[in-house]
Symmetry: C2
Subunit: 217 residues, 2 copies
DNA sequence: TTCATAATGAAACAATGTTTCAAGACGTTT
DNA sequence: AAACGTCTTGAAACATTGTTTCATTATGAA
């Protein structure tokens, strides 16, 4: 029997006897685990997310985590997907602007802000914080979804003849890589101050816009 | 006494009694250690570089490594500096071209090749492969030295009025970040095939050149 | 030669991801 | 309702890491 003096989330649904109660329970439990892991990560960084620490926070043995996620990589993947959702939401919050250039600047700003406000998520998603985790199909698709606004706006710009290049994915990747490059060099300590990095970032956004939108420089 | 049946590099200089024999010995030993670590890294990747594995290869106890480098971070730093030397050499091997644009393309190609031929070094230097190691002053300076050709050529282009922007460091950082962004996204699994990545890379180089050299696109 | 000081190196320590396996819970069958 | 087989649990162990300890051993000075 469980020790009922502990508020144990595992025991919470034990009494039920419905057919898929266990599945539901497992699903709820997974969410709790992910939230616990995310909480640890945001407070102390990705390297602080250890199986034992998550288990301790959930007051359960480590085995449960392995039952639910298979391995630490499985948990990492969930954090990755969580980050994708947050990034997608951040992009969604950027007000649409009739001026595509201004909208693109807004999205660029949102990407920068995401890397600053959710640095741990950024490192998990794009910085290889969990070296054991490499994105597979589902994760790559989640990134694609998050970058949807970027793809949409670039596609629009191409349709309107504002961009000479015809492949929107290629353009998105070029923009993404440039911005990621600066953020990653900054997070890796190769660019010293945040001010320098942000200045560089803004210049890069301008350069990209001028390159692709083909205006005067 | 050492077991002379083992060809132990540590015992090699033990007999000497000159004043700085020990210092020399320590210096030689350090080089052997770094080479052993580098060999393991290039064969099996950065994550395979463990203190025990290096010690095993050197047939010495782990303590020696701590005496020489202080910590794993100390050894990581040496590998980082080693990588800087290799990158600098790679840039040095690019034939100087009177046409600055062609020379810049050559340097870009060399940077790509370095990331492919010395992926482990690249990950240590720019990919955060040893998460415990963050570049400090000396390491940052070593990168600066490695990128010297880049800085020189950009400075020249500015002097000749080919580039409107006046701060060479800023331009170098913009170029560097763009190229690094693509390489890092590729190494991180966000860009699937090498072909796609290389195509993107070449496009990026062209875009950068056209942006800064202000020619037609 | 003797003694203090420093280096050595096997073993231990702490933390990690992961697996084991006896004890128990659960649902199904008789 | 009782018994049986299957699945889950969870404490403990395992393997691997970075790092430190400390008795032993050399080393160099007195």
């Amino acid at each position: 029997m469980q020790d009922s003096s502990k508020i144990n989330p595992i025991a919470a649904h034990k009494a039920t006897t419905y057919p898929d109660a266990k599945l539901q329970h497992a699903e709820l439990l997974k969410r709790s685990m992910i939230e616990a892991a995310a909480s640890i990560m945001q407070q102390s960084g990705p390297e602080a997310v250890t199986i034992r620490r998550v288990a301790e926070k959930m007051e359960c043995p480590t085995k449960i985590i392995y039952n639910l996620f298979g391995s630490k990589e499985g948990l990492a993947k969930e954090l990755f997907l969580e980050g994708c959702k947050l990034l997608a939401a951040a992009f969604r919050d950027v007000p649409e602007d009739a001026d595509l250039e201004m909208y693109l600047r807004g999205l660029g700003e949102a990407y920068w802000d995401f890397s600053r406000n959710y640095t741990s998520y950024y490192m998990v998603m794009f910085g290889g914080a969990f070296s054991e985790f490499k994105p597979e199909e589902e994760s790559l698709q989640a990134i694609g979804t998050a970058l949807q606004q970027f793809i949409t706006i670039i596609t629009k710009a191409i349709e309107q003849g504002l961009i000479a290049e015809k492949d929107p994915i290629l353009v998105v990747n070029l923009v993404w890589a440039s911005l990621h490059g600066i953020i990653h060099l900054y997070l890796g300590g190769h660019i010293q101050s945040e001010w320098t990095a942000k200045n560089l970032y803004d210049r890069s956004v301008s350069h990209l816009i001028h390159t692709f939108f083909g205006n005067e420089r």
